[in-house]
């Protein structure tokens, strides 16, 4: 998907995350991993493969099926100076730890001045025929909670750099990994200690007619749409990859809106109460005079994600949807 020819140095999004885990565990003895089946088995998607052999069972802990306990124990260890990395086997199961994350972890610094540096990571997202419980994008549910940071990379290089930043952050970072991208996107990793700061968006494609603000899987669908629109319609589309959902890089959003005056927000998550609505509100409050068209959203429909391919494809946003929406904005 990167378009570059395969080279020996290219690694996948999944390998990039694994590389970050290895490097951070090597760098800091306080970093450790815990989760279900992450040790001997290497994790359901093999993200943690090889960690047990290198770092041992004391730092790569296979836990009971207990999301509340895993997240709570990570918080307790983090209070004492450790830097735990928690795996949710599928990010859908983070719902089990919702209380622990929102009531305990997110408030710890504010209410009790307790440091809680920890990462909760896991395979997220659809387009993989995973059905209702192996395809979710629950990030918006946590965007609403002050005290949590939310990262959701689209590229392999960002996956590595943001993971390293997340491990070093002094607060809890929810790190969403898109499972469709795990083995499909590749990058040559930047040399040295590659850290991508949390809270900064990236211009994934420069353009001048319409802006798309998006993140994770739909960055790729937006880029595909942008190429098609350039070729077929001569519309120049700018694509902003947020990379971090919380804190959100508002300036990057406002900058592109003031440049193109037309905004489409795209995400894979469901529509109502979603992040696109939040971005729309902020742009409306801040950039009203710069807008030449209403802000539009392309998102999943408000439906639990179904398993069957025709059903899943219908519910999730597709490139054709983005093309239609951009054409409508350009013609407004």
């Amino acid at each position: 998907m990167t378009g570059a020819a395969d080279t020996a140095a290219e690694i996948t999004y999944l390998e990039a995350i694994r590389e970050a885990l290895f490097e951070e565990m090597e760098r800091d003895a306080n970093v450790f991993c815990l989760g279900e089946d992450i040790g001997a088995f290497g994790g359901a998607f093999k993200v943690t493969e090889g960690l047990l052999a290198k770092f041992g069972a004391a730092r790569v802990i296979d836990t009971p099926i207990s999301e509340i306990a895993i997240v709570g124990a990570a918080a307790g260890a983090a209070h004492m100076g450790m830097r735990p990395i928690v795996e949710m086997q599928f990010i859908d199961f983070i719902a089990n730890a919702y209380d622990m994350l929102t009531n305990y972890v997110a408030t710890a610094r504010y209410r009790a001045f307790l440091p809680c540096p920890m990462v909760v990571r896991g395979p997220s997202g659809g387009y993989v025929r995973g059905g209702p419980f192996h395809s979710q994008n629950p990030e918006a549910g946590f965007l609403h909670t002050p005290g949590l940071k939310i990262v959701y990379p689209a590229t392999a290089a960002d996956a590595k750099g943001l993971m390293k930043a997340a491990v070093r952050d002094d607060d809890c970072v929810l790190f969403f990994e898109h499972k469709y991208l795990y083995r499909r996107v590749k990058d040559v990793m930047p040399s040295g200690d590659h850290v991508v700061p949390i809270g900064t968006a990236r211009v994934a494609r420069e353009g001048s007619d319409v802006s798309i603000v998006t993140y994770a899987s739909t960055v790729w669908k937006s880029l595909e749409a942008a190429e098609l629109l350039q070729a077929e319609d001569g519309i120049s589309v700018e694509v902003i990859d947020l990379r971090t959902v919380a804190p959100m890089d508002e300036e990057a959003i406002y900058r592109t809106v003031k440049k193109t005056n037309r905004l489409l927000v795209v995400h894979e998550d469901t529509r109502t109460g979603g992040i696109a609505g939040e971005i729309t509100a902020r742009v409306s409050e801040t950039c009203f005079e710069w807008l030449d068209a209403p802000v539009l959203r392309v998102t999943a429909a408000d439906i639990p994600l179904p398993y069957g391919p025709p059903l899943e494809d219908y519910v999730l946003p597709q490139t054709a949807d983005i093309v239609r929406a951009v054409r409508r904005l350009a013609a407004y």
């Binding site: 895993i70 124990a73 307790g76 260890a77 209070h79 100076g81 504010y110 001045f113 005290g147």
Partner: protein
């Protein structure tokens, strides 16, 4: 099953306590009760901003268990463990300021009552969702194990919290990871208004230890020396690498869930019977006099000392300032260190410019707002 009980007979942990330490147990129990009585006065004077939670009748359970820890150990108290926190070094000034929502209280007015902590002194503040501190303390003690530190953790739950998923997941996690953790179930008969019989069909909470594959111990929670003995045994077990223990302390909640609760759900006579026959301080005074030759004068001197300390603390806390409103913006994250004020609050340092009246809603009018 064989009934799990604390250590009996000769060689009990209490025997290693000096007479001075035994008087210290009395001091902390009396301190707890007197400080709460002062808080009742302040509550009635409306100086306590939120609710008031009493541990009347449970002082032995809190004090005796915390006394079994070393300074380097960490406990996580519950709402009826003021005594545990005092033993661990929380001061009456902190407690009073906290209840009065002062700007220089331990949480700078952000949290209520005894929801505060200090990892240096070895206590971590609870949050309101019950059972959540069990997984957290599993993690605290996991860090002790990972770093090879000679430290132990102690977490309190009530009879009610044993019904939560967090309790189950946390104690099971601690057990399987062999965390040096003592989980104390304070069985005080009620969770808010719900009696223990509506909480579980288990005959006793100590039986649950079997299900987790860990030792279970039980003691009379109103006998401070028995509480100390049983907790010390569990603490020593944890410190020597034995892992997690569940301890059930049998006690009774003589006050309501909080000060507003009139306890209409309690059978007539039950509270009075416990007060008359099983008050932990009265019982301990009898033990101190009969077994350790304490005198009325000696105990009265301790009581007077406590009153003086609480009077001094009240004076300090009372004149302490309320928090600055803008402090609300600080410290949600390490980075950024401060949140930006919402645009309609920029240049405003007070709640709605001082035009709102706390007594009711809808009292602000456009005319009132003219001057702003």
């Amino acid at each position: 099953m064989a009934k799990a009980r604390g250590p009996q007979g000769a060689g009990r942990p209490r025997d290693a306590l000096s007479r001075e330490q035994k008087l210290e147990l009395y001091y902390w129990m009396r301190f707890t009760r007197s400080l709460e009585e002062r808080l009742v006065n302040l509550y009635r004077q409306t100086k306590v901003v939120g609710g008031l939670f009493r541990s009347l009748g449970q002082e032995a359970d809190a004090v005796g268990s915390a006394f079994a820890l070393e300074r380097r150990d960490i406990l996580s108290p519950l709402i009826r463990n003021l005594g545990s926190m005092l033993v661990k070094g929380a001061t009456p000034v902190e407690v009073l300021k906290q209840y009065m929502a002062k700007g220089d209280s331990p949480t700078r007015g952000r949290e209520l009552n005894i929801h505060f902590g200090d990892t240096e002194r070895g206590f971590i503040g609870q949050i309101s969702p019950l059972g959540d501190m069990v997984p957290v303390m599993a993690g605290v003690t996991l860090s002790f194990k990972m770093r090879g530190e000679d430290r132990v953790g102690l977490v309190y739950v009530g009879d009610g919290a044993t019904s939560t998923g967090a309790f189950h997941e946390g104690i099971n996690f601690a057990a399987v990871q062999r965390c040096p953790l003592v989980v104390i179930v304070e069985n005080n008969g009620y969770a808010y208004s719900t009696p223990t019989s509506m909480q579980t069909l288990a005959k006793q909470f100590v039986d649950k230890a079997i299900g987790y594959g860990i030792p279970g111990l039980q003691a009379d929670g109103n006998d401070v020396l028995a509480v100390y003995d049983v907790t010390k045994q569990a603490v020593d077990h944890a410190r020597s690498g034995g892992g997690t223990t569940l301890v059930e302390l049998m006690t009774y909640r003589r006050k309501g869930h909080a000060e507003h609760d009139n306890q209409s759900y309690v059978p007539a006579g039950e509270i009075d019977r416990w007060a008359e026959e099983n008050d932990p301080i009265d019982r301990y005074i009898r033990v101190l006099k009969s077994d350790y030759s304490a005198t009325d004068d000696e105990l009265a001197a301790i009581d007077a000392r406590i009153q003086g300390e609480i009077d001094d603390a009240t004076d300090i806390a009372d004149v302490s300032p309320a928090p600055e409103a803008l402090d609300a913006l600080i410290g949600v994250y390490a980075d950024p260190p401060e949140e930006r004020p919402l645009w309609f609050r920029r240049d405003a340092t007070d709640v709605a410019y001082g035009k709102e009246r706390a007594e009711g809603w809808g009292t602000w009018t456009a005319n009132d707002g003219k001057s702003t």
